[in-house]
Symmetry: C2
Subunit: 361 residues, 2 copies
């Protein structure tokens, strides 16, 4: 067939180019997303090229309970492993009301503005009930979610903290292989999720506000001692004086805690995520921490320990799951619990009865 | 044969009575102690009558690794169970140097002086190496050890904290059945033993001294938050002003911690165990705590929870022991640990390999 731009009677004069009805790059992405079953290798290749859609798909596999998906997920993770680990991982906690979402939005935007690639994940074991209470509503970070150099993923759901934590930890590796160099992991300041998050990050940031009642400040015991920095948010308007006072108080309190193995002395600072002030100072503190701990080798050492910890934690969790979910044990457990509570049976005798039954069956 | 005091040629005049060469009550006790193998029932009967030697023997059975002894120990414990639980259990911790021994001696003597029967136990998992570093040397409490209403027992030895803690918890029950109404459990302010002790006592006392360097104060993270009271010891001579200042500082720091479920607000006080001052105040605080928590039912509730905790802990510990001591697992574990540390294998993949091997064999 003759081409239309050749001189012929059939030649047409070109009109004005019409814009595509759809953005072609989005269309490609959607098409790719809808394409059935990319192989583990295809996912891996795309992730290593920085493809966020492939990243999302792989994370969905990690979060799936389908054994086939899990197998594929493990293949992807294993492939990502040599490319992971090249990042800094920052845990952020604080009770509801301290402005975590706003802080992460402002902080995340600051990080991308200085050239970082930021992934924001969350650990919220309650999300199986609330369907992702934290980070579930991405519109709470509407600037960051549109940022090309940011990736936001709500908390995995799951019926145990162990399960949610495992999935998050694997997700970190994928994000790193995908080129994200700053991983932020959000958690709420209640329950045991802090301990889990603390064991997967390099730096732990506790967000507070000044002058809140004890109830609002009611963060779980031990969290304050984990903090590498306490950031007092909402230091704006009438709150500035109160925030400064809180800074002094927390500094004094931190002084009473034992020295950290990292050699780091926790720092307290104030900021206003809303007014975008003091955010550079927060990063300055974090950067200083990384400089220190990379220099004294604590950073590397801690990561190795964390890897080992996660291996052992996974084993322990599965040993327990098998035991406590065994039908015969479930039945006997209720009886024994009651007998122990009423002092009819010593806790150790009760344990022995249960263990004997388990290892016989 | 004729009796010599009858009138006869053979009659002798009685001389002056000679004192017995041995104290008969001690001799009886030693004889009883040496008697071979009292039955579980005999031990139990004696314990319920308040016999300290029987108590010591039963505790030795608990601490034994001989399966036959363990079976007998379990019988005794089961028999003590209905008579246990009628006491208050007080945990005392503090780093070496704060004067724990002197404090417990003075505090224990004060308690017996007001009519209490006091048992002092210890949890020190390092004792398998040091052969009982805390309370091992009973002469450090020379007044209390001679007190009829006191019983002192050094820490059980063991190769795991779990094992030592289990033995101590069983020992508490025996002491209570033996009539001791105030159980003091000493531990050192390092390692995880505090958490174990915290989960077996009703009240947790942290002993500190004023003006010590950070090193001496270097108690493990989270301990301060567990404390129901902080007692600043050695508040004597030149130290009084410093101790008062420390009291103010700790009060301020405790204020920053979240409220306790018990409804109790932790109190700070000063004392001098050496000069025997402020000790009554310490007991006053503890008594006030028990009044509050027995009134609001927290006391009873916590004990029930602790019983259940110990049942589950025992199960979890044994599940892990069986796994990690399995010969095939020991071999494979080393390999996998290295691979995980070097990022050749993800922690989760490594765990999976080990678990599959374990459940197949």
């Amino acid at each position: 067939m003759k081409e239309p731009n050749k001189k012929s009677a059939l030649a047409e004069i070109h009109g004005v180019n019409q814009p595509d009805a759809v953005n072609q790059s989005v269309a490609n992405a959607v098409q790719k997303f809808r394409r059935k079953q990319p192989s583990a290798q295809e996912l891996l290749d795309a992730i290593l090229k920085g493809d966020k859609i492939a990243l999302s798909r792989a994370i969905t596999l990690i979060e799936s309970t389908n054994p086939e998906h899990l197998e594929k997920a493990n293949e992807v993770i294993q492939g990502c492993l040599p490319h992971a680990n090249k990042s800094v991982r920052i845990g952020i906690t604080g009770v509801p009301g301290v402005g975590k979402s706003t802080f992460i939005e402002t902080f995340g935007k600051y990080l991308t503005s200085i050239g970082k690639k930021v992934a924001v994940l969350a650990v919220d074991p309650s999300s199986s009930i609330s369907h992702g209470s934290i980070l579930g509503d991405k519109t709470r970070m509407e600037e960051l979610v549109k940022d090309e150099n940011a990736y936001i993923r709500p908390s995995a759901s799951g019926d145990s903290l162990g399960g949610v934590a495992r999935k998050t930890r694997e997700t970190i590796m994928l994000c790193e292989a995908c080129g994200f160099d700053t991983i932020i992991i959000e958690t709420v300041g209640v329950g045991q999720s802090e301990t889990a998050v603390h064991s997967m990050v390099d730096f732990f940031l506790l967000l507070k506000i000044a002058g809140a009642g004890d109830e609002l400040q009611g963060i779980k015991r031990g969290i304050m001692e984990m903090a590498d920095t306490i950031v007092i948010n909402k230091a704006d308007g009438d709150n500035i004086a109160k925030a400064k006072l809180a800074k002094t108080e927390f500094n004094r309190a931190l002084h009473l805690f034992p020295a950290k193995n990292s050699g780091w002395i926790p720092k307290v600072t104030t900021c206003s995520a809303f007014e975008k002030t003091g955010i550079d100072k927060v990063w300055e503190i974090i950067a200083e921490y990384f400089e220190l701990t990379k220099e004294n080798n604590y950073f590397e050492q801690k990561r190795k320990e964390q890897n080992q910890y996660w291996m052992l934690e996974t084993i322990n969790e599965q040993l327990k799951n098998r035991f406590y979910n065994h039908p015969e044990i479930i039945e006997l457990m209720e009886q024994n619990k009651k007998a122990v509570q009423n002092n009819e049976l010593s806790p150790f005798a009760a344990a022995q009865i249960l263990l004997e039954r388990y290892f016989k069956v």
